[in-house]
């Protein structure tokens, strides 16, 4: 049953900074997300460097569909639904590899790497040459396009072109990886599963309020010492105490008071960025000199070059420029989300730099990451409490800096619409507000119109 427009607007309030808990566990809402969001949006499939040679392929999720992203003879890329035209069996069962053909292991229908049906057992004897092979190839996605090596596809033939969909914020996010050099994916995508709703995993990427507590054990390590805040700038933590009553010492975390050290982008289709500026945060690899390069100056405006925070390309692609990593949140049901981490390194990087990137990629995020170890249980518990009859009536609170965020939106600038402030919840709230618009099933034009940010958030 479709959730009506009216109801959707009651579920997310931009004015009050509140979100209704039912959006995380209601099965009807999940179904509608599959159709209205994952069935229409451009979705990240892979990076071109994952499939350099003819016949190289990876499997990627698009909602409940799986597609094979395959490098073609002419160097182009195709995304084919991984389902046989005969009776639907998956024609490929490997996560990745190199193929000359895809032969279905059910009855043997065989497709070339472009998806053409090239072999049918018994075409002559059993089908009497009456089966129109040209009509039964593997189906492609509605549209596929790339931006600076990042491959995306959509199931909606009426979706706007990729670059237009990405908007200034999405393009800036991808450029923050692309501008770091001639970037390639390091072999090995980390994949793990968290029993949580996908929106918690997205909400959290904008959340610079949680590291000081959630990741306190990691922030206390020497390894993250360069992220400690000078004592004078730290937030007031009076009243924060453990169950034994111990006051916590917070070494990391956000600056408080009047320290305007954060930049937020809020943009069309729900794309957003949030996080510190480069003056307050360079990440654990310790260098962001790429932001001053010729290439970065051409691709990014002056505001974006200062933004060191995390981008989300709606709905589920997180870009973390400081670590040279991107992370996909893959919904597998209202209570289950897979996390896929891709790590990049410049092809020309000297061995020491490569080793440092690798060490950070393996130790910050991912299932064993010194930070990310702590995230899953929070999201899991937050998801499960949305099912309690009494618990789910309590709205979620996203009121930080609410009503104080002045949006600077110069449509002639290459910089995205932005807010300068301290730690805030604008990125999350903007994502939920856009989510409600997507869910209404409105046209692409209406969706773009309704997701232009107001002057104040």
């Amino acid at each position: 049953m479709a959730i009506a427009d009216q109801t959707l607007h009651e579920l997310v309030s931009l004015e009050r900074g509140e979100v209704d808990r039912s959006i995380y566990s209601d099965p009807d809402i999940y179904e509608q997300e599959m159709k209205e969001i994952f069935g229409r949006s451009w979705l990240f499939l892979c990076h071109e460097t994952q499939i350099p040679k003819r016949g190289d392929f990876v499997e990627a999720p698009m909602g409940r569909d799986n597609v094979l992203v395959v490098r073609q003879r002419d160097g182009s890329i195709k995304a084919l639904l991984n389902t046989c035209a005969h009776r639907g069996n998956a024609v490929c069962r490997a996560d990745e590899g190199n193929a000359k053909n895809f032969m279905c292991t059910y009855h043997g229908w065989t497709y070339d790497i472009a998806g053409n049906l090239v072999g049918v057992p018994g075409q002559k004897e059993l089908y009497h040459d009456e089966l129109d092979m040209s009509a039964h190839g593997l189906r492609g996605v509605a549209q596929l396009d790339t931006y600076k090596g990042f491959v995306f596809a959509t199931s909606d033939p009426s979706a706007p072109p990729l670059a237009e969909f990405l908007g200034r914020t999405g393009r800036a996010g991808l450029d923050m990886i692309a501008c770091q050099g001639d970037m390639e994916v390091i072999p090995g995508v980390q994949k793990f599963v968290i029993p949580c709703n996908w929106k918690f995993a997205v909400d959290n990427l904008f959340d610079w309020y949680h590291p000081q507590i959630t990741h306190l054990s990691a922030m206390s390590l020497d390894m993250f010492a360069n992220q400690a805040m000078p004592e004078s700038k730290r937030v007031d933590i009076d009243g924060v105490a453990t169950q034994e009553g111990a006051q916590l010492r917070l070494p990391g975390g956000p600056a408080g008071g009047d320290n305007v050290d954060e930049l937020v982008f809020v943009d069309i289709f729900g794309h957003a960025l949030a996080g510190p500026t480069r003056d307050t945060y360079v990440g654990v690899t310790g260098s962001d000199s790429w932001r001053d390069s010729e290439q970065a100056r051409e691709a990014l405006g002056p505001v974006a070059r200062r933004a060191a925070g995390h981008t989300n390309i709606f709905p589920t692609l997180w870009i973390n420029p400081a670590g040279g990593q991107i992370s996909l949140r893959v919904p597998r049901g209202p209570f289950e989300t897979e996390i896929w981490w891709y790590s990049f390194v410049p092809r020309e990087a000297p061995p020491e730099h490569r080793a440092l990137v690798l060490a950070m990629a393996n130790h910050v995020f991912g299932p064993a990451g010194l930070l990310e170890q702590e995230d899953g249980e929070n999201w899991n518990q937050s998801t499960m409490t949305t099912t309690g009859l009494a618990s789910r009536r309590i709205p979620h609170v996203l009121k930080m800096n609410l009503g104080r965020g002045k949006v600077v939106n110069d449509v002639d600038s290459m910089d995205p619409p932005y807010i300068e402030c301290g730690i805030n919840e604008h990125g999350q709230l903007w994502t939920y507000a856009a989510w409600a618009q997507w869910m209404s099933g409105c046209s692409w034009d209406e969706l773009r119109e309704r997701t232009i940010p107001p002057a104040v958030l």
Binding site: V189, I194, E338, H363, L370, E374
Partner: protein, 181 residues
Amino acid sequence: MTVDTSTRAEAALLADALRQFEVERFYTKEAALLDAHDYEQWVQLFSDDTHYFMPIRRTRLRRELDKEFTQPGEMAYFDESKEFLLTRVAKITSGLAWAEDPPSRTRHIITNVRVVEDRGDELEVHSNFLLYRTRLKSEETTWIGSRRDLLRRTEGSFLIARRHILLEQTLLLSQNLSNFF
């Protein structure tokens, strides 16, 4: 003659059995330290030049099985020097690591211990493990796989000079890896 041969065979078997006993005793002690959350003692079992590595595994066709696991220098789940292992131990014992507070209940079962090469001062040892974990009310995880260790002989015991952990999973079916293997 025949007596002599069989005595020599017996002596070799006995040496094998003793070595097997030494290795298994070492692993039993190691597992007990982990299950008692005594990570400070546990990490001392590793040599300073150790490499503790759990690669990423991908489902690949049989003809491409040589590319199933990522290699050192590529992405992994664990890729630890001794220093990183010490960092992890410092974190878990800080009292601030919420992923292990309340602590997971774990049980390490180590079986099929096989010395595949004995170079005198160093042994190549393969073993199978089952790591069972429960957390909170109903979270339950079972990890099964094999360990490929390089054990270095040291006064009456061993140091782990290399551990490669091969898990029987591609997509990790757990929300994190906050325990040691």
